[in-house]
């Protein structure tokens, strides 16, 4: 049996939303930055249990410095959010709590995974220095470039969606 779930990736521009999806769907990565306008939609089916597959319809939204600017129709029927920020650019996570509060207020029942991308570019000391901002908020530190924890992120979100 296959069920379909819509996952939306949001966050500032240049944080690597498209790269995360390309790593997850095509297992590829490029350093070149191509700005996403509007939305790209892709799909990957993963196996959840012996007889159960889940088809993830992944919406890759154009980056916004303010989540409230997102076109509302893009968010219709969303089953799960992945909020992506760039660990190397503080401007992409300085209003993290406000952004998450907006999601909680408007999509209270939709699970959200918060991920810091480009973990390959920072060290443990840096993460420790920002622990106050990241602890209890960030679910995964990932790298689209190396693929670190990308599969795990989507698999865990898929699990959460099945259990809902």
């Amino acid at each position: 049996m296959t069920i379909s779930k819509k996952i939306v990736l949001i966050g500032h521009f240049g944080v690597g939303k498209t790269s995360l999806i390309r790593r997850f769907v095509e297992n590829t990565f490029t350093e070149d930055y191509k700005v996403t306008i509007g939305v790209h939609i892709s799909k990957r089916t993963i196996n959840i249990s012996e007889n159960e597959d889940i088809s993830l319809i992944i919406w890759d939204l154009e980056g916004q410095d303010d989540i409230k600017k997102t076109r509302p129709s893009y968010l219709l029927g969303t089953n799960g959010f992945i909020y992506v920020f760039d660990l190397t650019r503080p401007v992409t996570f300085e209003h993290l709590n406000d952004e998450l509060a907006f999601l909680k207020e408007n999509f209270s029942t939709v699970p959200v995974k918060v991920v810091g991308n480009k973990v390959d570019l920072v060290n443990k000391i840096y993460l420790k220095e920002h622990s106050e901002q990241f602890d209890n908020v960030v679910d995964y530190f990932v790298s689209a470039k190396t693929g670190s924890r990308v599969e795990k992120l989507f698999a865990k979100l898929a699990q959460d969606l099945i259990q809902k």
């Binding site: 819509k6 892709s42 650019r89």
Partner: protein
Amino acid sequence: MLKELKDKYHKNNFQYILVDDLGVVLEQDHPILPTIIGEKIQDIHPFFEILTHLLTTVNESFEFSCINLDFNNQEPLVVDVTLKTHNNNNLVIIENLTKHYNNYQLTAQTRNESIINSQILVLKNEYLLEKETFKNNFIANFSHQLRNPITASTIFSDLLINSNLNDEQKNYLEIIQSANKDLKQRIEDILDISKIESGKLILVSKVFNLKELLKNIEVIYNYLASKKGLSFKLEIGEKVPTFIEGDQYRLKQILANLLTNALSYTSKGHLHIKVSHNHSRANKVNLHFEVEDTGCGIAEENLESIFDRFTKIETGEEQTGVGLGLAIVKYLISEMQGNIKVESKIDKGSTFIFNVSFKTSNYTQDQKEELLNNQLPELKQKYNILLVEDSEIIQLSILKILASTGLFFINIISDGEAVIPNLVDQKVDLILLSNTIQGYSASNISASIRSLSKEYKKTPIIVLSTQGYKDDIKRYKKNGINDVLVKPFDKHKLLESIKKHLK
């Protein structure tokens, strides 16, 4: 006619598709998307899966703009999609805006790249500043730690040289003294570079006797040159003024650095220093300096880089120094609005040439004479000195110096708390105050002393400091401190400062 032309040039950017409540295509017109009648629209592209639950509504309208649709074997499309739901007859309107959105993408690409680049630049700048601050703090702390031991080593070597030593012992001691001087110079150089890089090196302009400064240099370098079998000559041009206004300490440093270099790269021949008058304008005089040697010379390809930090020319011979001297020289000369160049020939020697402007002094004859006779008065009575210092070797060093003059009674304490009771209990003519007393800053102790009764307002306080930055000196002066001796200091400097303030 209009209809005819319209039909000729009309571009149909729309596709209308009729689907039932399950999404099965019932009818369609102009083909933008590769839909097939009888198949589900959701199977064309994952975007349309969103329709599955929207198709259950009736008489609703949904609009989706800027949807990127990729199909195999077809150019990617960027479309706006509108869904109008009617019972089992739902209309999907596709508007092909690929060209329009592709143009917009180019604009967004430029804008976002430029924003991200400027954010990265700000971060890089912050990182560099942090690194610079860390480095400068490290250098300051490092030199701070070295100052007490070097002071003690300098003072005890100076004291020892005057005791009964045989020739061999004297030779050894001279080597130790020379090493102390080198060590002190290295620390000063590193601190200077750190000050230059953090913009904290500021020139102090005062009237001084230029000819006296040059004569002092002559005495020192004549001696050092003769020890290496070299001749030394100082030439001062006729029109060179005696009194000028500028930073004499830094001018001396420039000449000393150039001469030390010349000395270390020259094994036979001579060292010459020439000073001449270039021109005078308004209240300024421009002087021309040349430091010439007959040393190994500098290869042409190295001429540009010799003023860089940590540059040392490989000559095959052993030279001392860490390669900061010329970088400091260049900076100091540029701060004095001058410039420096070097002319050199391999195995013939090098000449460093620089021009610097100074203010001409408007001192009266009396003031000039006072400068000429700037001898410290001999003290005619015994004075009480309170030494507040927690380093035992510095305590002992100062005790030995002061005792050797027979002019002072000395009371030593190492605890900040004991300063005020000691002052109140006995007469104190001058206080020597270390900046390393645990739990107390020299500024705080001084401020406390100044806040006592009137008689303590004028007791001279000299701080023995391991910190020599301009900001530190300023802070000391603000808190009523009369003078600052930056460690390492020697016997002469200590006595000079004490005598000056007991005058």
